[in-house]
């Protein structure tokens, strides 16, 4: 059954009160909420490579009406983000209905369908001073020494125009007040924002939470390799604690006491 009819059915059967999908307008795909009141819009329902964080919209809706039944077109990253939102009590899984669109490459499916998979070429200046769009964390660690890594990151961060887009667009950022805006932690009003703390505070929040959707990097006017950064944060959490956010609904190791921690403080070697 094509997706339009599926949505129609969900709405008509009352399984969802609203369905979040996309519609086409002047050649652009934009998110849209389909309800029984605008069934005629369904003819414009489309699915394509464009990605918005529909689950974030769902949290906005649920905030206003907690028992609202919401349907969502869910790409793989949307689905992972939904799991995180369930884990952290931001959405009630009982109220969410998803129509899944598989897109991320996986072991069984090499080719994914996502904007972030499109190859990107890195200009020489960025390559020399910043971080290659196609960098891999391990290779990055190997290629550069401590001080080079630092200066490359500082180059990237110093481009920041403090739009907060990475946070605003992030499907798993849901704090009512963000510590990035705490004037005691990070001096407000400066451009670029205090580096690297601005980005690292966010990076710590992403550790064990980021679902690797890449929307932040898409939204970054300065093209800071945020996805690369957060992926490494998750890698650390995965390596040290064996936790992969979004795969299930377990909480992140940073908030769980009681499990036996076998870690030991690292020795102070020179």
């Amino acid at each position: 059954m094509d997706i339009t009819r599926q949505v129609e059915q969900l709405l008509k059967q009352g399984r969802v009160d609203i369905f979040l999908g996309y519609r086409e307008l002047y050649g652009h795909l934009i998110p849209h909420g389909y309800t029984m009141d605008n069934l005629e819009d369904l003819e414009n329902l489309k699915v394509s490579q464009h990605r918005y964080s529909l689950e974030k919209v769902a949290t906005h809706l649920a905030e206003k009406k907690p028992d609202l039944k919401i349907g969502i077109i869910a790409r793989d990253c949307n689905q992972r983000a939904l799991n995180i939102l369930y884990t952290w009590n931001q959405l009630n899984p009982d109220n969410i209905e998803t129509l899944n669109v598989n897109c991320c490459p996986s072991k069984t499916r090499k080719h994914g369908d996502c904007s972030y998979l499109e190859p990107k070429e890195t200009g020489w200046f960025k390559k020399e001073n910043g971080i290659d769009y196609n960098a891999e964390p391990d290779a990055f660690m190997e290629e550069f020494d401590n001080s080079e890594r630092f200066s490359h990151w500082m180059y990237e961060f110093s481009k920041c125009i403090k739009c907060y887009g990475c946070r605003n667009v992030c499907p798993v950022c849901f704090c009512p007040e963000c510590s990035l805006e705490n004037p005691d932690l990070i001096e407000p009003g400066a451009l670029p924002p205090e580096v690297p703390i601005f980005h690292l505070v966010r990076a710590t929040h992403m550790a064990g939470r980021c679902v690797d959707c890449g929307l932040c990097e898409d939204a970054c006017p300065a093209e800071i390799p945020l996805r690369f950064l957060y992926r490494q944060m998750n890698q650390i959490v995965g390596d040290v604690f064996g936790y992969n956010p979004g795969e299930g609904i377990e909480k992140s190791p940073f908030t769980i006491i009681g499990d036996k921690v076998t870690l030991e403080p690292k020795p102070m070697d020179a």
């Binding site: 652009h28 009141d37 464009h50 906005h60 809706l61």
Partner: protein, 135 residues
């Protein structure tokens, strides 16, 4: 409950970034960059991301105001417009059309600017039209 996304153009600065307003139940709940827009390509600055906040501000003017004895009173549109028109017509009669100036705006739409200069030139009969582009 309804939810729609309406395309618009950011009203800060001359860049003209494409935005989407997330409208929930008749209220703009947030602003998003329009991913496929030719100007900003799905990115925004801090002002753009918070575009809806001033629109929703509780400090917005909700009705025309007329000053009486130094204090503002809420008025109907007819009262306010007629009061203003009466006074402008009086000034125009007393001091001529060029005794009135019109400052149009770099923040309102083309249509409105067009009408404003038309108002100055056709209704008031003056070319005293300028705006703050230079300020």
């Amino acid at each position: 409950m309804n939810c729609k996304f309406v395309p618009s153009v950011c009203s800060y600065c001359g860049t003209g970034c494409g935005v989407l307003f997330e409208v929930i139940d008749g209220k703009i709940n947030s602003t998003l960059p329009l991913k496929s827009h030719p100007v900003n390509q799905g990115k925004l600055c801090i002002k753009g991301w918070n575009l809806h906040e001033y629109i929703n501000s509780f400090m917005r003017l909700k009705a025309p105001l007329v000053k009486e004895e130094g204090r503002f009173q809420k008025a109907t549109w007819d009262e306010a417009i007629n009061h203003a028109a009466r006074n402008f017509n009086r000034i125009k009669e007393e001091h001529g059309p060029d005794s009135i100036g019109v400052l149009v705006s770099a923040k309102v739409t083309n249509e409105e600017n067009y009408l404003a200069q038309k108002l100055a030139r056709a209704a008031l009969k003056t070319n005293n039209v300028d705006h703050c582009a230079r300020l």
